[in-house]
């Protein structure tokens, strides 16, 4: 609104339920009481909306003129991210994660999903589509733990993720496709952005929960005339003029978070099927009662058992856990460089437990001898392998025990507990945005006919983008702002890398467990001596044997003895010769 819409910051007020900015992008605590981050950010280069915004936001720790994007590049350009222990099992052993581990039929399951039309996937779940064997592959453990997909969630959303991150498939195993912020999400993004906004006069009003809007309907036009909110618990009506604008979040992933610590398990306050009136789902629920253009919020909040998981933040002094962490890290955890390079997932964990240590310090004020580690799990209804309870019933001490068991250091648990603080966050709606959905379940950023209402965040419809990224959050807000301000400016569709033949080729190689995919050797025979030779992944066999390998590949494709075989090979060889022969 300020940069592209020329609005004055002083005319903009943020109404925030909480007492601190940032919403789900949180990060707080201290070494004495323990730090807490409910989640973390894994990002990539083509978060185009996010970087478009943060290129104009001053970095707090760099001289004037340097942006958050500049800081991000300064950190990541000089510190590659990768993992050497992405998957583990058998109580402390690194599981081979060098390939995606997909059989040919399982590869086809993925390719068929890519080919399917979006419109044909309404309300279908991942486990309804994929074979049971697929859901045990390296690929699925890498995918589900990295993006937090549950087997019972939306196949359509998984497909959109495949397209959005097709350029990252060859960096999925070791997480080399990822980049990470300098600090936690609050200090890296929220603090600079809030500073930027306050300097421009934007007001932030806390303890204000918006729960309904008055909307005047005039033919097809819908215009917000008032905001209803609880301000400090008191009912308040905020008038909205016809030229004023209202931008609202529909739903919240971290709504109703229950907290725990070393000695207390979190206790949920939200109903399993109805979050109740005093919740951040109320506004969307009330909007949906007014018109079907606002979607069906109950499809997302209506089954907490299917949308919930728990995270744990560990504040660690040196202990046997830190010693084990060092062995699994690509750099010394105290070096300021990449540590685990993303999450480490235990594939034989009943909870599908993962943990990560990002660059340290993870908080600007963190003492040098302290590490902050983040833990989470996907399955909330299964007993642990060591602690015979579901994760939500566990104290921090018990979750530490389960983690130590999977690391093979449960015999050193007392020393770990003595030097570690755990803060727990059980989030009933943390994957609500992935719940199975159909067309019309989510409203558009500017629902039909709305003249001054925009909707943003994880529960709105976009053309092709995914959800649960900061990029898509910015995208939905940009679409709403540009539309309502009638700005003649395009919000670019998702990065076009999925259409790049190089992305498709290297993705096909990765899906085929880093082996040449069917037809790849023939492509090499055709292109190896041409301008386009560099678009193909190098072949594993030496040059001298490649013709024979290509012939065998073609025989395999067409069937042995096919009379076309010799003709096709001869045709390819003539093309190669004609390309490589100099004129004259």
């Amino acid at each position: 609104m300020i940069r592209d819409g020329s609005m004055k910051g002083e005319d903009i007020t943020v109404l925030d339920t909480m007492h601190i900015e940032g919403g789900s992008l949180d990060g707080a605590g201290d070494p004495e009481n323990g730090y807490i981050i409910r989640g973390g950010r894994e990002m990539n280069w083509n978060y185009d909306n996010l970087w478009d915004m943060f290129q104009d936001v001053q970095a707090l720790e760099l001289p004037e003129g340097y942006s958050v994007l500049d800081e991000y590049r300064l950190v990541n350009d000089n510190d590659p991210n990768f993992s050497k222990a992405r998957l583990m099992h058998k109580r402390g052993q690194i599981r081979d994660f060098s390939t995606l581990g997909l059989s040919k039929p399982q590869q086809w399951e993925l390719i068929r999903l890519l080919l399917k039309r979006k419109e044909d996937l309404d309300d279908i779940t991942i486990e309804q589509y994929f074979s049971s064997g697929f859901l045990e592959t390296n690929f699925w453990f890498l995918w589900r733990s990295m993006f937090a997909f549950e087997n019972w969630q939306s196949l359509l959303e998984m497909k959109l993720y495949m397209h959005r991150f097709l350029d990252a498939i060859d960096g999925l195993t070791d997480m080399s496709a990822l980049i990470f912020p300098k600090y936690n999400q609050f200090d890296s993004f929220v603090r600079p952005l809030v500073t930027h906004l306050r300097e421009r006069g934007v007001k932030i009003q806390f303890d204000t929960r918006v729960h309904d809007l008055d909307i005047k309907v005039d033919g097809d036009a819908r215009t917000v005339t008032a905001i209803h909110a609880k301000v400090g618990g008191a009912d308040t009506r905020i008038p909205v003029g016809p030229k004023d604008l209202v931008f609202a979040l529909t739903g919240s992933m971290t709504e109703g978070t229950a907290y725990g610590d070393m000695d207390h398990a979190p206790v949920l306050a939200r109903g399993k099927h109805d979050p109740g009136e005093a919740s951040d789902w109320t506004l969307w629920t009330n909007l949906a009662k007014k018109s079907p253009i606002f979607g069906k919020p109950e499809k997302f909040y209506g089954n907490v058992d299917k949308s919930m998981w728990e995270s744990v933040t560990l504040t660690c002094k040196p202990s046997p856990f830190v010693d084990r962490l060092k062995e699994l890290s690509v750099n010394d955890p105290y070096s300021g460089k990449t540590v685990t390079g993303g999450i480490i997932t235990f594939t034989d964990s009943n909870w599908v437990l993962s943990f990560t240590c990002n660059r340290q310090p993870h908080f600007p004020t963190q003492p040098k001898d302290v590490l902050v580690v983040w833990v989470y799990a996907l399955l909330m209804d299964k007993e642990g392998n060591y602690v015979k309870k579901p994760m939500p019933a566990c104290t921090g001490r018990e979750i530490l025990a389960e983690l130590c068991y999977h690391l093979g250091i449960e015999d050193k648990l007392d020393a770990v507990v003595a030097n570690t603080k755990a803060r727990l966050a059980l989030m009933p709606y943390i994957t609500a945005m992935f719940m199975p959905r159909a067309a019309g379940d989510r409203p558009h950023p500017v629902p039909a006919g709305c003249t001054n209402l925009g909707l943003m965040g994880q529960f709105v419809e976009t053309s092709n983008d995914i959800i649960f990224t900061m990029d898509s959050s910015v995208r939905t807000a940009r679409i709403a702002v540009y539309t309502l301000l009638k700005l003649p400016k395009q919000v670019p569709d998702i990065s076009p890398t999925q259409y790049d033949i190089r992305t498709i080729l290297k993705g096909a190689r990765a899906l085929n467990n880093n082996e040449p995919f069917p037809g790849e050797r023939l492509l090499h025979r055709l292109l190896d001596k041409t301008y386009y030779s560099h678009i193909l992944p190098p072949l594993p066999e030496p040059d001298a044997t490649r013709r024979g390998s290509a012939e065998r590949e073609l025989a395999g494709l067409l069937g042995k003895g096919d009379q076309a075989l010799g003709a096709i090979i001869g045709w390819l060889e003539r093309i190669r010769e004609s390309i490589s022969t100099r004129k004259g």
Binding site: W45, P63, D70, L74
Partner: protein, 73 residues
């Protein structure tokens, strides 16, 4: 406040003029930079200089035509 100059550890062999046709590009543990022909907001960063520039001068030699006719207004 970060010491900007000492924070920049980009290798001296940093390739300013990228060449997407030179080699097969893929994600790997050695990559820190985007693909050589990627265009997007991520490439619109303001890089941090590796050394001070305050005492450095620059001359730009231009080959303008002295007698270029002025447009009358």
């Amino acid at each position: 406040m970060t010491d900007v100059a000492s924070s920049s550890t980009s290798p001296n062999s940093f390739e300013v003029e990228t060449d997407a046709s030179r080699r097969y590009w893929h994600n790997s543990s050695h990559n820190t930079l985007p693909p050589p022909d990627m265009m997007g907001a991520y490439m619109r960063n303001r890089p941090v200089p590796k050394g001070p520039v305050e005492a450095r001068k620059a001359w730009i030699s231009a080959a303008a035509s002295r007698d270029w006719p002025r447009l009358s207004t």
